[in-house]
């Protein structure tokens, strides 16, 4: 049989064989070239994905696609064109399978983690708003962790009144301790707290519930607690050592009249800080964005090559800055100017400049050139044209965009505190660390309220600005002067207050500049390749005291270390010189002990000079003394080490990590979007007015869903991540869950609005031809909904990509977690690699989804 594409002489079975050997080749020889290449690329990409995750079970669907390719070639050879639904389905199985594996999705954890969520949820119903002033009583008792033999005396004494006693002087983490107290307020509740040796305090929790004791009428109580994990990370006890912790039992008995809690006043103060930060960032952002937007407007910069160059550079820089999330900038600026409101303001400001610069320039690009022409025809000058023809056109859009951005900035500044000590987010993270759930809940509720109120107000305001006033009202000049004066005065006051609250300190900016510059330099040059290195070392044995061993030196091809003493006692001055070492190289000079432990003689030391020499003056360290009773029973050495490059350049470790995590991040966004859409689609019908009808029940359901959507939309994804990390433990799963929980109300709202805007014409038409309800649904309603739903899903996917780069900062997994770690370890060029990967990821996905959306709409 001849193929429809005709001329090929290849028989169907031959084509099938080709495609069995190399997928797509059969299609290719049958002149279905695009299809052939598409099949090959798809199979290679999917294979890469399976190999990357070593998910061998997923080879089965891949094999199915392979076989399908052969069958497809056979069908094409016989002049039929099969649909691509089947391979698409198998492809989806592979991608989602990989997604589930890479993001460590374990639905079981939703159940098993539920108990640790309960304190959070319960706390949300019990915010700390007002309280009675209390009289307080507290009893303390020391306890040693872990138990050792012999147990030394604790370094502090228990309190006498009230008195707290425990059934054991020492314990291990997780063991039960029986606590009894006397001399407390009678018939009253109290809390148990645990203090570690460096003074960190935490509430004692048993079975997910904070421990509460109740005293009898004599002021006594007895309770069992479990020793929590409280050993400070930086001060782990060595083997055979113990640390003294403290158990504290405290009661707060109210008296007098109700007053606001310290929590509430702190929250109120931080609401101010949040709003001030957003205000400052927006105003400063506008000041920088307006001039930049003119440089980034294509219609103004078409003039000549120079202006076009300026346009391209401005646009590119704005785009790069914009594709890196504000929270990420907050981490960068925290390095530059330190933690606090100022760093937060800078991060918000930078992102604002980039985002507004782009929006403004688009507004400029879309102005009507007619009025400009008309005024030029009337003989007006350039500035006059700007004031009369350009400004009135761009002013409303600019103002509306500015308000919109201020909205976003308030949202962002509520969570910027999660990484930088500023605003409400800082309180949330602080109180979570202290296990003060109800205080945390107060802050979270404040965040939701601030965002919801602002959303509403700025929505109304934006609408008013866009509509404007159709008729200019005549007002007396004095009144105009008064209102303008009041406006200016108010603005100046708010500005001054915000300036103070956001702690803008240009000196800090300058002082931090070297750090910032180092950061920028390292960021700009990503870690693409590195070269394998081997540690080289030269040593000199130094017996302390003299006679405890032989002194000797080792050298590598002339490189050696010389000491001014061949032996000595602790504290003797010692001059260490290195010779014929690699010139201008960072080396490390150490005391090395017989038990393989070592100690740097000086931190951040040293660099050799251009001849490869080095000189260091010090004194012999006490640990160098030979101690025959311990493992340090032989003389120590002075060691100089350095790294020498062996072998050629290779793909750097950080690049590999970044690649892996980028894939994980993409898959996180994919799964979250899918989950979000999956739940949002059915729910959205309940929030569509035209679906729910005008019955009392319908209206009630409609309002209930609308309100729920709006309420949950105000919960920032970063906050959801915190809660989800407590639920299913930190990791990519928590991130996916948080994003999905955020997507459901967001998409639900958009979907329900789409449903409400359905054109009833086709429904009417189909009803008139006698179609049934289901038929109308399939032929008149679904075709209207699908493209719009898909467009919204793509849009959400875009946002999810951006969000999934930062949710790792607070336990959501993905590339953000690694980025924060690298910045914390001062590995800026690795962090830079991650940043560039994010830029590439955001851009390519932006581009793809924009293309896809164009096709849909």
């Amino acid at each position: 049989m001849q193929t429809s594409k005709g001329v090929s002489s290849v028989a169907a079975w031959q084509a099938a064989l080709f495609s069995l050997l190399l997928p797509g080749s059969g299609q290719f020889v049958l002149k279905h070239r695009v299809r052939g290449v598409g099949v090959l690329v798809a199979i290679l990409v999917l294979l890469g994905l399976v190999l990357w995750g070593s998910a061998w079970a997923l080879l089965a669907p891949l094999l199915a696609i392979w076989l399908w390719a052969a069958w497809d070639a056979f069908q094409l050879g016989n002049g039929r064109t099969p649909g691509i639904g089947i391979p698409f389905l198998f492809g989806a199985i592979i991608v989602y399978g990989m997604g589930v594996q890479a993001t460590e999705i374990q639905p079981g954890r939703l159940v098993s983690g539920w108990p640790s969520m309960l304190p959070y949820l319960k706390a949300l119903t019990q915010p700390e708003l007002f309280e009675y002033p209390t009289e307080d009583v507290a009893g303390l008792v020391p306890i040693q962790v872990p138990c050792i033999d012999p147990l030394p005396e604790p370094d502090r004494l228990p309190t006498e009144d009230p008195k707290l006693t425990i059934n054991t002087a020492c314990t291990s983490v997780g063991d039960t301790v029986h606590v009894s107290g006397e001399g407390f307020f009678p018939n009253f509740e109290g809390e148990i707290w645990w203090l570690n040796p460096i003074g960190d305090v935490q509430r004692v929790i048993v079975d997910g519930e904070p421990v509460v004791f109740t005293t009898d009428e004599n002021g006594r109580f007895q309770i069992d607690i479990k020793a929590p994990l409280a050993v400070p990370v930086t001060q782990q006890p060595g083997p055979g050592e113990t640390q003294t912790h403290t158990i504290r039992a405290e009661q707060h008995r109210p008296y007098g009249s109700l007053q606001e809690t310290q929590t509430l006043s702190l929250v109120l103060e931080k609401i101010g800080e949040t709003v001030a930060l957003a205000f400052m960032a927006t105003i400063l952002g506008v000041i920088f964005a307006v001039p930049l937007s003119f440089l980034a407007a294509r219609n103004l910069m078409e003039g000549n090559r120079v202006t076009r160059f300026i346009y391209t550079v401005t646009r590119t820089v704005l785009n790069v800055i914009r594709s890196i999330e504000t929270l990420m900038w907050a981490i960068v600026f925290a390095v530059w100017v330190g933690l606090g409101p100022f760093g937060g303001t800078l991060a918000l400001w930078l992102h604002t400049v980039a985002a507004l610069g782009k929006l403004y320039s688009e507004a400029i690009e879309s102005i009507d050139p007619g009025p400009i022409e008309a005024l030029r025809a009337a003989g007006a000058r350039g500035p006059q044209v700007a004031v009369y023809a350009v400004l009135p056109q761009i002013f409303p859009t600019f103002t509306s965009f500015t308000l919109y951005r201020w909205d976003i900035n308030v949202r962002m500044s509520t969570v910027i505190g999660l990484v930088s000590d500023a605003g409400l987010g800082f309180l949330v993270i602080q109180w979570i660390r202290l296990n003060r759930f109800s205080a945390m809940a107060t802050a979270i509720i404040a965040i939701v309220l601030v965002i919801a109120i602002l959303d509403y107000v700025s929505g109304k305001l934006r609408q008013r600005i866009i509509v404007g006033s159709p008729v200019t009202r005549e007002i007396s000049p004095t009144r105009r002067l008064l209102t303008r004066g009041a406006f200016v005065l108010g603005f100046v006051l708010v500005f001054a207050w915000s300036w103070r609250v956001s702690q803008i300190d240009l000196v800090d900016l300058v002082r931090g500049a070297p750090d910032g510059w180092r950061l920028i330099k390292a960021f700009a040059v990503p870690d693409v390749t590195d070269r394998p290195v081997e540690e080289q070392l030269v040593t000199a044995v130094l017996p302390v005291p003299c006679g405890s061993g032989e002194s000797s030196i080792s050298s590598i091809s002339g490189a050696r270390v010389n000491l001014s003493l061949s032996c000595g006692d602790v504290g003797d001055p010692l001059i260490i010189t290195g010779h014929e070492l690699p010139p201008n190289t960072d080396v490390s000079v150490r005391w090395a002990f017989a038990d393989d432990a070592y100690l740097r003689i000086q931190s951040n030391c040293c660099e050799t000079d251009e001849t490869g020499s080095l000189r260091l003056e010090t004194a012999i360290h006490p640990l160098m003394e030979v101690d025959p009773t311990s493992e340090r029973n032989a003389p120590g050495q002075v060691v100089i080490t350095w790294d020498e490059v062996v072998g050629g350049p290779q793909i750097s470790e950080s690049l590999k990590t970044v690649f892996n995590l980028s894939l994980v991040t993409l898959l996180m966004a994919l799964l979250a979007t899918t989950l979000g859409a999956f739940f949002a689609i059915p729910l959205s019908f309940f929030a569509a007015r035209n679906v729910m009808g005008d019955t009392p029940l319908g209206r009630a359901v409609y309002y209930a869903f609308r309100t729920l959507f709006n309420l949950f939309r105000s919960v920032e994804p970063m906050i959801l991540v915190l809660i989800c990390a407590a639920w299913v433990s930190a990791g990519p799963f928590a991130g996916v869950l948080a994003l999905a929980l955020n997507n459901i109300p967001n998409l639900g709202k958009l979907f329900s609005e789409t449903i409400e805007e359905i054109d009833t014409g086709p429904v009417e038409a189909l009803t008139s031809v006698g179609a049934g309800r289901l038929q109308t649904l399939v032929y008149a309603i679904i075709p209207q909904l699908v493209p719009k739903f898909l467009a919204f899903i793509l849009y959400q996917w875009d946002i999810n990509i951006r969000m999934s780069t930062v949710i790792g900062f607070v336990g959501g997994g993905g590339i953000g977690q690694q980025f924060r770690l690298w910045v914390g370890l001062n590995q800026y060029s690795a962090a830079g690699t991650a940043t560039w990967a994010i830029v590439v990821m955001v851009w390519s996905m932006d581009y793809l989804s924009a293309r896809a959306r164009e096709k849909l709409v």
């Binding site: 009507d368 007619g370 009025p371 022409e373 008309a374 005024l375 030029r376 025809a377 009337a378 003989g379 007006a380 000058r381 500035p383 006059q384 004031v387 009369y388 023809a389 009135p392 056109q393 002013f395 409303p396 404007g468 006033s469 159709p470 008729v471 200019t472 009202r473 005549e474």
Partner: protein, 257 residues
């Protein structure tokens, strides 16, 4: 007198919009410019007040070489030449008053005007202009609240603020329905007859040409293919300008020519 000499315009993309066009317009004439879309009518009008710089040729207005004028001189020439547009070219978000006053910018103080300061007589002049076009009650309304015909009247009022002695009208009625078209052209006719303002107006409809113009020029592919009085513009000549497929369409049958 307006003299157009050997005017040629080649756009950077290579399009030849005008090819060696020459004609003269006596003061007080109502000259209609006809031709297909893309025949160069708009380019011709815009070359006269130099919104577009011609590639070759000269435009001389009252013995002044417009094509050679620069900066201050150019603005001085421009403010004597009023212009109205097919799309009205109003600033939609500004009030009618502001739009009308902006026609005075060529005379206004260069700095004071930036803060919306105009002399009191300009305000009076603006009210007078609005009264002349019959929309004085809309002075404080925003321009986008007006109908198309009203917007074009604001455009005329804005041009009147220039106290022009030449008025360029670039398809002033193409965006309006037939009845409004007549009312706008009647205003132009009034300016032409009462104030002696020379009018150059590009038009699409033959009956409008017959009704209002004192003279007609026709452009085809950038070349001048007709120059005469409306009475000479027969059906045959009309087809020469517009091509064989063109049909004559009448506008607003209530008016006879």
């Amino acid at each position: 007198m307006l003299r157009v000499e050997n005017l040629t315009k080649v756009f950077p993309n290579g399009t030849v919009a005008l090819k060696d066009v020459s004609f003269e317009v006596e003061d007080g004439e109502f000259l209609a410019v006809i031709g297909l879309s893309g025949s160069g009518k708009s380019t011709l009008l815009r070359c006269i007040n130099r919104l577009i710089d011609p590639t070759e040729g000269r435009v001389v207005w009252h013995d002044q070489d417009v094509t050679a004028a620069q900066g201050k001189d150019l603005r001085r020439v421009r403010r004597q030449i009023g212009m109205i547009f097919q799309q009205f070219n109003l600033v939609k978000r500004s009030s009618v008053m502001t739009n009308v006053l902006s026609g005075r910018l060529g005379y206004a103080h260069p700095w004071g005007s930036l803060f919306h300061r105009f002399p009191a007589e300009d305000h009076k002049r603006a009210m007078a202009a609005l009264e002349r076009v019959g929309i004085v009650d809309k002075a404080h309304t925003r321009a986008d609240q007006l109908s198309g015909g009203q917007q074009q009247r604001v455009g005329i009022a804005r041009a009147l603020m220039q106290e022009p002695n030449l008025m360029l009208a670039d398809e002033p009625v193409a965006s309006l329905d037939p009845v409004l078209a007549h009312s706008i052209l009647q205003y132009l006719e009034l300016l032409n007859r009462q104030d002696g303002i020379t009018v150059l107006c590009s038009l699409h409809f033959l009956d409008l040409v017959h009704r209002y113009a004192t003279r007609v020029i026709g452009l085809k592919d950038g070349e001048l293919v007709f120059d005469g009085v409306p009475a000479d513009l027969t059906r045959q000549r009309f087809k020469e300008v517009y091509g064989e497929e063109a049909e004559m369409v009448t506008v607003g049958g209530n008016l006879q020519d």
